[in-house]
Amino acid sequence: MVLLEISVNGKGCRVLVDATTSLLTVLREQLHITGPKIGCETGDCGACSVLIDGKLRRACLTNAMSVNGSEITTVEGIGGSGGLHALQKSFYEHHASQCGYCTPGMIVASKALLDNNPTPTELEIKEALSGNLCRCASYVNIIKAVKSAALKTSNGGGEP
């Protein structure tokens, strides 16, 4: 067991972890932060997407100790203290989920996109989310939601 110190959604966490444990397991099983979902644990579905120091990563493929000292953001931390993030609001308003299992990952991946590219084209949105599987195939509305959130945030609609 080794000591892992990370900040998750702005909160410092110290946990003893197995050196081989994935970040996803630490978040879910040890910290009980369950926004990131387990869909495959092989990096194929994107349900476990988180931001590590602002970069989009698969928590299931990330060794927890390898991100010692990092800032982790999950869907729970996207909105910050100011309530819902524009993306969350937009997903909600656009009926952009069915079962909702992919939604946390979708929102985190969309956030990573808008952070780098506040006014993405439809193709850029599709490309950015192509690693996030949605079997309910809510894609049409997800893309609409991201577009509309991008418009709002880039028009100074305020973030979060």
Binding site: R28, E29, H32, T34, G35, P36, K37, I38, G39, C40, E41, T42, D44, C45, A47, T74, V75, E76, G79, L84, L87, Q88, K89, F91, Y92, E93, H95, S97, Q98, C99, G100, Y101, C102, T103, P104, I107, L133, C134, R135, C136
Partner: protein, 454 residues
Amino acid sequence: MTFKSIGKSKPRYNGLDHVTGQAQYVDDIFIPGTLAVKALRSPVHKGIIRKLDTSRAEKFPGVKGVITAADVPCNTYGYLTLDQAVLADKAVRYMGEPIAAVAADNLEAANEALDLITLEIEQETPVFDPLEAMKPDAPKVRPEGNVLMVGNRPYRLVFNGDIEKGFAQADEIIENTFFFPSQEHAPIETQVSLAVPEKDSRLTIYTVTQGMYFLLRQLQRILGQGDDLTNRWSERMQYASRGHLGFCDIKYVGGNVGGAFGGKTELHADAIAALMALKTGRPCKWRWTREEEMLYSARHSPWRMTFKDGVTKDGRIVARKVFSIHDAGAYTGLSSYVVDKHAFYVAGPYYLPNVEVKCAVVYTNKVPTGAIRGFGVTPGTYACEIQMNMIAEKLRIDPWEIRFINAIRNGDQLATRTKLESVYLIETMQKLAEALNHPIDKKYASLTSAPREA
């Protein structure tokens, strides 16, 4: 009539939970002391278990319980035919069939313990191709034979009219065979079950099922809660020191599922998690890995369908004969029900004065198939709609036109002789043509689903 709620695109009830990560699915529930469950599955497609020794696994550090067929009070289940074992004790009929299960403090220990189970299986020759399996000398998937008997026939028969008379009226006979493959439902949430023995001697099962009550009865039976088995079960309960488990002492907790598409209508993880919880007296969670889900969960059955149609030069289908083969996999599951639904609708939404459908369930040594979005109708629609275009091609009629000519209307009958109402096929086609700016002939533009004149 004005409505306040009906017809309004209200926001999804749990939409805010979805977008904030607060929606709770089974795997998001953590109960201290929960054991991790793993199953030992058959490494062969077909065989007889000759030796199963779990003693070394039981002694492995961290292991809290191992179960085999001997721990299952009632080891036969199935929706329609009780032909499946929760844990196989003799015959295994598909690769991946569960044989034993381990519960341990953590997944690593459970996985390692699996390797310590001694399993010897005498391999037998499997059969994978339903066409092979239908031959009389084929290896038997099950002792009862490889084709499900429906009454005294090896297929479901549904007919209406007089098929031979129909063919006699035909100018052309058009026959084609179609194949619809197997798919995985692939919901992003895999099978998960968390079974928790409660203080009041009850068992709570957090489940991903699509129909809690649908499975409740099956699980009750497996746990020996039905009728004569109650006593046998309470004897076993002493090992778990959980006291008596009376009728209906199972509580399913669920209702929020991460996608299903038909793939969560089976017991899958529930029965073994429940048995494990009762054996160990501890909460037990079995979450299938994606690989288990891909390889061993119930899947869409492969279908082979042959359409033989008698058509007139002007495009009317005067006879339609369909023969379908449903590759069920190793056990019945919902197959006998699926073929019925298939047989009722495979001939398609057309006016068919003479129609005959035969549909066979064939067992093979593959993973059992199950419900999926479209339940037997999907392959039917697939075959029928390609066949319609093939007829159109052969008769040099436009694909739209061939459908307008034959479209079913109010008062027409299905193959099941059901008289239809609220039919709206012609109208949806007209609306589609309109949306596409696709020109359609005046005589079809003015057609309606009104009953045809006698």
